[in-house]
């Protein structure tokens, strides 16, 4: 119960930060103050909060779970590629969006798209596609909160109550604190996780009798491949470098770029981002691999047994039985199980709070959706003009409550795996939307019709992959199930972990085709007026 009490204290602190931020706000109901903290976030908070915003439950629990199953490849696959691609996208796109926001008052990417391409309803379509791809994150954040509180309290806090508490806490500080509260809470959470992640490695390592022995034993076992990258193909590994393109296209990330007080703040963020990624992901991945040497935790042994069964008898099982085994073998909670086993109670509580911090990253997504609704829909269709800015901010706050209650209601009823899958698709979807930002900011010749084509393609492709994976069950671990081949080349396959197109993850063709559609359709359609183009590409670009 002690860890649960520590987590509750942490949650109380988080709510207090949100209320404190509310008291520090300008006092006037200004949209820019509530949604963007008056574009006044300082360098320290900007770095840690932007980083914390990206560190979702998927990043922390999912990384150790993926490493438990696939080995050290997880770090190169998800972390080191992000360490390069995400700061690059912040450098090239984030800085430009910040400058445009400062100059023209944009608060969402769609506002910029509407102005840049002289469009109205096409912007609404883009906003809706972004929102649909983002909602599953909020749901899974609440589910993660319920699961974590349940695990930390040893089952004393039921899932529904844990989820309700997390939803209420997140809703409170987003409702009161807006962007300022969210940024401060994210900063606090990131510090917590960075500090106590390191402690977790030391405590678990010494309790296991040192990592050298554990690694040597793993090398001699049938699981030795977890210390290499044999379980993943080089094509799949390459494909994954496209996934971090999604980061800058996520509305909550690009909107957060608008909050910086000065552009110089991006400098430290860009440079230190890879080091922050390493500091958080390296322990998570390493501990995930080491979990395979924890033989005296029954839950971990059961996972290993399910994995063995799947590998040996998977081909003879029904698709439903295979899915069930996969779920049993999933390692998303191995970090929690190791903490329970090795960390002293007080430390398990603080580390649990750190994990809660990651799970609760849905705050910035809730705020981003609220900003998009009030700016892209409410204000655009005349709400602000008719009712004023104060009503717009109140509408944003009401939207936060409605969205959180909606997400909680769904979290209680729907199976988690559905949303985990939705998140998989969402990453690819946002990566495929990234050409919109690149075209708007760097290509004079881009048009609204090119943007619409790329957006509709993204929506269609995400839906197509989801439907394909729903109707074609995943095969057992081993060779892929080839659905379509031509001249001996595998065009479309169902793999144990998803889908492959020409051996690559679907994100590769999705991004390439999205970019091609942007180019081809833009070439065929009328450009915005030259005055608009000059506004975005002033004299320097012409020289």
């Amino acid at each position: 119960m002690i860890p649960a009490i520590v987590v509750f204290i942490y949650l109380a602190v988080v709510v207090y930060i949100g209320i404190f931020a509310f008291r520090r706000s300008s006092g006037k109901a200004k949209a820019e103050d509530y949604f963007l903290a008056n574009r006044s976030i300082g360098p320290f908070v900007f770095l840690l909060s932007l980083f914390g915003t990206n560190m979702t439950a998927f990043a922390i629990l999912g990384s150790s779970g993926h490493a438990f199953q696939n080995g050290i490849v997880t770090f190169g696959l998800m972390a080191s590629s992000s360490a390069l691609v995400i700061p690059l996208s912040i450098f090239f796109i984030g800085t430009r969006m910040w400058a445009l926001g400062k100059k023209y008052g944009f608060m969402t990417p769609v506002q910029m798209f509407r102005d840049r391409w002289e469009c109205g309803h096409i912007g609404t379509v883009i906003s809706i596609v972004q929102a649909v791809l983002l909602v599953p994150y909020i749901i899974i954040g609440i589910m993660g909160g319920g699961t974590t509180l349940n695990a930390i309290s040893g089952g004393l806090v039921p899932f529904w109550f844990g989820g309700a508490i997390v939803a209420l806490v997140v809703m409170s500080y987003v409702f009161f604190g807006g962007m300022r509260g969210t940024a401060w809470v994210n900063t606090f959470q990131t510090i917590l996780f960075l500090v106590f992640g390191a402690i977790a490695v030391i405590v678990i390592g010494s309790a296991m009798g040192g990592f050298s022995n554990a690694v040597a034993a793993l090398e001699k076992s049938p699981l030795a491949t977890l210390l290499t990258r044999e379980r993943i193909s080089p094509y799949y590994f390459f494909s994954y470098t496209f996934i971090p393109l999604s980061a800058i296209a996520f509305p909550h990330i690009i909107i957060f770029c608008l909050t910086a007080k000065k552009m110089a703040q991006f400098k430290k963020t860009v440079i230190f981002y890879p080091l922050c990624i390493m500091a958080i992901w390296l322990p998570c991945v390493f501990l995930g691999v080491m979990a395979n040497r924890v033989g005296d935790v029954p839950e971990i042994r059961a996972k290993q047994e399910a994995r063995r069964n799947l590998a040996q008898q998977g081909a003879q099982m029904t698709p439903e039985a295979r899915d069930e085994k996969r779920e049993q073998a999933a390692g998303d909670d191995v970090l929690l199980l190791m903490l329970k086993k090795y960390a002293p109670l007080w430390l398990a509580g603080i580390l649990g709070a750190g994990i809660m911090a990651a799970v609760m990253a849905s705050d910035s997504q809730i705020l981003a959706l609220s900003t998009m609704f009030t700016e892209d829909i409410f204000a655009f269709y005349g709400g602000r003009r008719r009712f004023g800015e104060a009503v717009q901010v109140q509408t944003g706050r009401i939207f936060v409550i409605v969205l959180t209650v909606f997400a909680y209601a769904i979290a209680l009823r729907a199976p988690e795996t559905i949303f985990e899958l939705a998140i998989q698709y969402a990453f690819s979807g946002f990566a495929a939307l990234s050409p919109l930002l690149v075209a708007a900011l760097f290509w004079r010749g881009s048009t609204k019709w090119g943007a619409l084509a790329a957006t509709l393609w993204t929506a269609l492709a995400v839906a197509a992959v989801a439907i394909f994976q729903y109707f074609v069950p995943a095969p057992a671990p081993g060779p892929s199930n080839i659905i379509w081949s031509m001249g001996g080349t595998e065009i479309l396959s169902r793999t144990p972990g998803g889908t492959a197109v020409l051996g690559f993850m679907p994100v590769v063709p999705m991004v390439i085709i999205s970019a091609l559609l942007m180019i081809v359709v833009s070439k065929m359609t009328a450009k915005p007026h030259s005055a608009t183009i000059e506004k975005y590409f002033p004299a320097k670009s012409e020289a």
Binding site: I72, G76, S80, A99, K102, F211, V215, T228, K267, M278
Partner: protein
Amino acid sequence: MKRTLAYIAVVVLYVLHQDIWFWRRARPFVFGFIPVGLFYHACFAVAAALVLWMLVRYAWPAHLEDEVSLEVSNVEDEAR
């Protein structure tokens, strides 16, 4: 020139991410417990920070800051 070198460093680093040379090797264990493939990618993250420092130092889009300052001062002038 330095700007171009920074851009080239980004491309080289992206290529170096696809390190097929350590694909099937666990040894040597750096510090006695970190498989070489994992250590390589930890070093990659540090190298990424260095390359990004180069980019910030030599290819920083300072003109954007100037444009914003100009726009803000124009707005202030109009307000007066």
